[in-house]
């Protein structure tokens, strides 16, 4: 506590970005030193990470790169003392922050010097009002009221949220929430800042604003910063040092960011990072998807499977009167066509998916959808999905939700693959039909889940869950597949796996609609439909969208996520 004491007595000065008059934390930013560091969560046999040995000088920015499951988030938790002080498990080696040995220092003392921002803004905001939210951490640390009243608006100003104090936290956009989370930790004046994939759950404008915020913090050199991120083009320009982890949580490399780059593409790819296209030369990747019409289902390609006309959806009145989520949207999905639906948060993407699936009956307009017969031939009859019985709808429409966990219907991965099929087979048996049992383990193996057939779907990792939710649609693929943010939170390999599986499903003549924030997915699509405030503002080829996004500013939508002035 002796190191943290003086900071509490100091009067904080004005700290708008660019003015760097913040009183230095005691001793300034700390160094971070790890030696043979390892951690295994209790109940697991495999370590989350192991054998980490690196030394980060005070005031530098460390970028941690690694594939999903490489222990990056756990390392972030260790730096904040949550591991080993809050979460159970076994610790090896040493981790020192400045003079403090993390394993031997109480979480309370670590908490004075370390601030941690998590990936999902919705799971870290505690309070209903913005100013209460910033004050929460200060209250916990026993700050006197007068100092909090001075510090809260300062912290909000620092992240560009001046004047937001009285707003409800629920009314903020994703980017605003994440900047609020940054204000939360800055308020307590920590000297080590840890960010755990802070942009992974944001739309392009929110990501842009958050990266800008990180860049401003990095420029000020007043904190030591550890940034876990797999958007390399956004994060690498901010980094002084880079730590690369492999699948098993072992250290692949540690060194100055300047030494990592075009020369280290293979190493970076092994770490699951998104390597900028320009570095890879001509080697194509996501856009190598087969073109529609070349696939097996032949004659059905290009036929209309879903027809939505003049959709209007209103949400019931709140304080500002009713809210029109969709306004005159007309849309046709063709067999074998993959369409990306893009737009800022609140532009109506999710509402459109729900309306197309017949889960939200539109206030005006209609949706009609048809099924595909066994040979990929469309069934003639177009039906309103909201009026279909459950067993009829499953052949026409499938949906993968942002959180695949909510869609699981079985106790094991194997049963999950059989579930949709099983429902129909049960009915088929009543009619006397008896077909051989389908090869569910074969499907799982194709989806890279063969070893998990007997596991509970809830035990799988995020990427595995997403693949399993697609595997569940294979035995009886729906004519139209709707996906809500299918690559949310996935690293490059996870994303590529999802695209490969979508390619396989498309072979059946399926029409696919992806609501997405990720510009990197667009080249793998045939068509982009862009929404803004409930209306279609663009409908055309991905290349044309990326060249001229119908939003202002267009920068974030092109995937060039670094504000140019942010790169040092």
């Amino acid at each position: 506590m002796t190191t943290a004491g003086p900071a509490l007595d100091r009067q904080p000065a004005d700290e708008g970005i660019g003015t760097s008059s913040e009183p230095r934390a005691p001793g300034g930013p700390p160094s971070v030193r790890a030696a043979g560091l390892g951690w295994t969560y209790s109940g697991r046999t495999r370590p989350a990470f192991q054998g980490l040995t690196f030394e980060l000088e005070p005031g530098r920015v460390l970028l941690v790169l690694g594939p999903s499951g490489s222990g990056k988030s756990t390392l972030a938790r260790a730096l904040a003392g949550l591991v080993p002080h809050v979460l159970p498990g076994s610790w090896r080696g040493h981790l020192r922050i400045g003079e403090m040995d993390v394993a031997a220092t109480p979480a309370r003392v670590l908490g004075e010097r370390v601030g941690l921002v998590f990936q999902d803004p919705d799971c870290q905001l505690v309070m209903a009002r913005v100013d209460d939210e910033v004050a929460f951490g200060l209250e916990n640390r026993g700050w006197p009221r007068e100092r909090m009243q001075a510090r809260v608006p300062e912290s909000l100003r620092q992240v560009g949220l001046a004047g937001f104090g009285r707003r409800g936290t629920a009314t903020l956009s994703g980017g605003e929430k994440q900047r609020l989370a940054i204000a939360d930790i800055l308020a307590a004046q920590p000297s080590l800042l840890v960010f755990d994939e802070p942009t992974a759950n944001l739309d392009p404008p929110g990501m842009y604003a958050t990266v800008e915020q990180l860049a401003a913090l990095a420029r000020r050199r007043e904190h030591t910063i550890v940034l876990v991120e797999h958007r390399l083009e956004a994060a690498l320009p901010l980094a002084d040092d880079v730590l690369l982890l492999d699948d098993e949580g072992r250290q692949l490399a540690f060194g100055p960011a300047g030494s990592v780059g075009r020369g280290a593409v293979a190493l970076l790819e092994r770490s699951g990072a998104w390597v900028p296209q320009a570095w890879r030369g001509a080697e194509p990747r996501l856009d190598a998807a087969p073109q529609p019409g070349t696939a097996g289902a032949g004659s059905s390609m290009g036929r209309v499977l879903l027809d939505a006309t003049d959709l209007q959806v209103d949400y019931p009145a709140d304080e500002e009167g009713s809210h029109r989520a969709l306004d005159g949207v007309s849309f046709r999905a063709l067999a074998g066509e993959r369409t990306a639906i893009v737009g800022p948060n609140g532009s109506g993407k999710s509402t459109l998916l729900f309306a197309l699936a017949g889960l939200r009956r539109p206030d005006r307009g209609s949706v009609r959808v048809r099924a595909l017969a066994a040979g990929g031939e469309p069934v003639e009859e177009m039906r309103d999905p909201s009026r279909l019985r459950a067993e009829e709808i499953a052949r026409r429409i499938g949906m993968v939700f942002q959180d695949p966990e909510l869609g699981f219907v079985a106790r094991t991965a194997r049963d999950e693959v059989l579930a949709t099929d099983g429902a129909t087979r049960a009915r088929g048996r009543r009619g006397g039909a008896d077909t051989p049992p389908p090869d569910s383990d074969g499907v799982l193996a194709r989806f890279g889940l063969g070893h998990l057939a007997g596991e509970s779907p809830f035990q799988l990792s995020q990427g595995e869950q997403r693949r399993l939710s697609l595997a569940g649609l294979v035995l009886r693929p729906p004519a139209v597949l709707l996906l809500d943010e299918p690559t949310f939170g996935l690293d490059r390999r996870g994303t590529e796996a999802v695209i490969r599986l979508l390619d396989e499903l498309r072979e059946t003549g399926q029409a696919q609609l992806l609501a997405t924030h990720d510009p990197r997915l667009l080249p793998a699509c045939d068509r982009v439909v862009a929404l803004d405030r409930g209306r279609i503002v663009f409908d055309g080829e991905p290349a044309r969208f990326l060249a001229e996004p119908p939003y202002s500013p267009p920068g974030p939508w092109r995937g060039g996520v670094v504000p140019t002035e942010a790169a040092r």
């Binding site: 979480a107 004075e112 629920a170 939700f401 579930a419 569940g472």
Partner: protein
């Protein structure tokens, strides 16, 4: 895609928005006790009038939206009142004159009075709840409970965090139902539906626990309940408004009980 309506919030500052939540809670409890003390429908009726006056004059709540918000309660009130009247024991008492007589069914004056008393009590509960919880957000109530009634931090702010997660749970429930419909799952029969309900609940439980764990971790990372004595950003001081509120609530309750019919 939240299913829960946003809580009613004051649209303008008013007397009750400046009263500390604990004082409003005390005043509300006084009325609730008064409403259940007698079987005389006049007492809750007077309290309903007083509550309406308070809502209009000093709650700052959007009045036009109150009837809509109380509508679900209205159904409960109506059925409670009707059944209390129909099932009252005094209907069977032949010495009391019936107001209505239809074949074997008789309704007597005391039955109507008892039924009205039951229904009006529920109206008092509904309106008082609005007056207690409407004029400030739940954070103020948690602050007030901790600062004035010395409730434990973990209880008060933990509940608050749970309240923040509740709308997500409503959204999750809708998503779970949607996902299962699209997977072709629609069991028939009572047992099938009961099992289906259990399965959905199970999925929601898993996802809620995950969410709660993440939120708890974020709270821990920000030093919650780490042994340091917590301070308070927003000061809640007992003022003349609090005393006045409780005094007026007492006076109104006493008058409602004591006034002759």
């Amino acid at each position: 895609m939240s299913l829960l309506p946003a809580p009613l919030a004051p649209i303008r500052p008013a007397f009750l928005t400046r009263v500390t939540p604990v004082a409003r809670l005390t005043a509300g409890m006084i009325w609730l006790v008064a409403a259940i003390l007698t079987l005389d429908p006049a007492v809750p009726a007077r309290l309903v009038v007083a509550a309406c006056v308070a809502l209009v004059l000093c709650s700052g709540l959007p009045l036009r939206r109150i009837p809509g918000r109380l509508a679900p309660l209205g159904l409960a009130i109506l059925s409670l009142t009707v059944f209390s009247i129909l099932l009252s024991g005094s209907n069977a008492d032949r010495s009391i004159a019936a107001i209505v007589e239809l074949g074997p069914m008789r309704i007597t004056g005391p039955a109507v009075s008892a039924g009205l008393a039951v229904g009006l009590r529920v109206v008092v509960i509904g309106l008082t709840t609005l007056l207690v919880f409407g004029p400030s957000d739940p954070t103020r109530l948690a602050d007030s409970l901790v600062q004035q009634w010395h409730a434990p931090d973990r209880f008060a702010y933990g509940t608050l965090a749970a309240l923040r997660v509740a709308p997500f749970m409503a959204g999750d429930w809708a998503t779970i139902a949607a996902a299962r419909r699209l997977r072709g799952i629609s069991p028939g029969g009572v047992t099938g539906r009961a099992r289906e309900f259990g399965d959905r609940l199970m999925v929601m439980l898993v996802s809620s626990i995950r969410r709660a764990e993440r939120l708890a971790l974020a709270m821990d990372a920000r030093g919650f309940d780490s042994g340091i004595r917590r301070t308070h950003f927003r000061e809640l001081r007992v003022g003349w408004r609090d005393l006045l509120t409780v005094a007026v609530a007492l006076a109104v309750a006493a008058a409602a009980l004591a006034l002759p019919r």
